[in-house]
């Protein structure tokens, strides 16, 4: 159905036009690169391009939450502990200054070397991590600080203790907390947006996604293991469920794609942070002026509307 495809593409481009992708990217050659990006979006991402996103999203040198915290904010004061049970190192929370204004940051954190990777549990949070996040969100609401979240996790940790401590309920309640916040909220998918563990901290007024991040219902390996009965078919699975930023934008799941330096965020973390900072400021400005109850209503309406349905009657 070529017409249908054309309509979808036009919609995608008009969304792109509306999302201020170009703001703050005044570097020479940037415009051309963005035009390339638009051309790429005009064509359906191929299986190879989707897989490249998967690889870049998981790249071992990709900037993580704390790499961005030190670059995006003027001051970052980390807060520890869920005030109940533990301090989960897979989630970082803190107060920060952004453009002269105090904000709260909640984000997944992966480790850089083997020791830190283990300590951070590969960015896979326990329920304690989500409760720590909820504590920071409540703090933001109490003091009227906008909330910024950064999503970068393969998924919530699937372990015996995590289940005993209420993993499913913690992920559900973290979303409830975000839905109820009065303050402006912006979520950024900066690497792997893996399943429930990711959406737990991504129910925001504006959802941004870096160009090479992925956001998905299941890992490519997990999907392949279940549907293809072979985890090695991950590439096929990714091509089928389309976790790339262009598709997430097209499906109305995210509001904007944040450009990355040529070759991926890891090639120039400073530039990646500058681009992300600009996108966060733009998104914040969009939702800042609303009164809190209107903001909450619009946030709910935004998520309530996501989905594609058919009907047997007209």
């Amino acid at each position: 159905m070529p017409e249908e495809t054309e309509i979808r593409l036009r919609e995608r481009l008009s969304k792109l036009g509306a999302m201020k992708l170009l703001r703050g990217t005044s570097v020479d050659g940037e415009l051309e690169r963005l035009r390339d990006q638009l051309d790429r979006l005009r064509a359906e991402p191929t299986a190879d391009e989707i897989w490249r996103s998967v690889e870049l999203a998981r790249h071992q040198d990709r900037p993580y939450t704390l790499d961005y915290a030190s670059r995006i904010f003027d001051d970052f004061f980390e807060l520890h502990g869920d005030r109940g049970r533990a301090d989960d190192p897979a989630v970082v929370t803190g107060l920060a200054s952004l453009d002269g204004r105090t904000v709260v940051l909640v984000g997944h954190q992966k480790g850089r070397d083997l020791k830190e990777r283990t300590q951070r549990n590969f960015g896979m949070a326990y329920p304690e991590g989500y409760r720590k996040g909820m504590r920071a969100m409540a703090l933001a609401d109490q003091h009227g600080f906008p909330l910024i979240t950064t999503v970068d996790t393969p998924g919530a940790y699937p372990g015996v203790a995590a289940e005993q401590h209420g993993q499913g309920g913690a992920i559900a309640r973290s979303q409830v907390t975000m839905v109820g916040l009065s303050v402006p909220t912006v979520a950024c998918i900066i690497g792997e947006g893996g399943s429930g563990g990711a959406v737990a901290i991504a129910v925001a007024d504006r959802v941004l996604m870096q160009e090479n991040a992925i956001y998905s219902v299941i890992s490519p390996e997990g999907c392949a293991a279940i549907l293809w009965r072979d985890g090695a078919e991950a590439r096929k699975a990714a091509a089928a469920f389309k976790p790339d930023a262009a598709h997430c934008l097209e499906l109305g799941v995210i509001d904007a794609i944040v450009p990355e330096p040529e070759g991926g965020a890891h090639t120039d973390p400073d530039e990646a942070a500058a681009l992300l900072r600009e996108a966060i400021l733009v998104a914040l400005a969009e939702v800042d002026g609303l009164n809190p109850s209107k903001r909450r209503r619009e946030r709910r309406a935004r998520f309530r509307a996501i989905g594609v349905l058919a009907s047997t009657s007209g």
């Binding site: 499913g168 219902v217 890992s219 598709h247």
Partner: protein
Amino acid sequence: MPSEPGRVDVEIESKRTEDAPPEKSHPNTCPGCGSHYRDEELAKTLRVCPQCGHHFPVGARERVEQVADPRTFVEEDGDLRSADPLGFFDLRPYTERLAEAELATGLGDAIVCGAAEVEGEGCRLAVMDFAFMGGSMGSVVGEKFARACESAAAAKVPLVSISASGGARMQEGILALMQLPKTICAIEDLHESGGALLSVLTHPTTGGVLASYASLGDVVLAEPGTLMSFAGPRVVAQTTREKLPDDFGLAESNYRFGHVDAIVPRSELRPTLARLLRLFGRK
């Protein structure tokens, strides 16, 4: 510690709700005690083994009959069907799996919603069916649940959710994940209108449904022996190489850890829901 950090997602869809009986055994063998049963007898005992109390799965239509007063159930939004937004194709097209599930179950998708009375108390019911693609939640399940919240709020009656689900539906990709916040937003609207959600978890309720509306009941009940874990036992065992406790993720274990208000045997479900509906109805 996982050897491969990518392999950590929830177990989404498992076709087996029961351990398969050993081969060559009688087809109607109770997995709990090994006794044989006749189908019509089991239907009379609400699909609970009269010998050992094992709870067999119950389809959505039969569950409605078990819980609602006779002839009070009026289905809502029964015409909604899943679309195929990704053109998803694994070994077979998604559309083919949908058609097959509808033929096998007679249901439009994995949830049945509508108005009902329980011992004369008005409510809305949202009942899942594991036989429809593992009770997986895609756009239609999320939409019907959200509409059930809205219908309950409009009628000023509580919503009773009875879940059975392997989690989010992979074939709808990221849109399936987005049904978590969607159903949660609907519950928040229901709560804001003063409405209540009673959540009953039945075997199995895992993944995205556990990580959204099933966990958010004002009261959370579970049937005996219900697996209610975010990650399935197979995924946990493979990822962590931990030895799992015998009662891993079961309702009984969740009750001990404080995640469930009560474990309710099936024969007591209807009177228990009626009691709670009466309590929530008197403000």
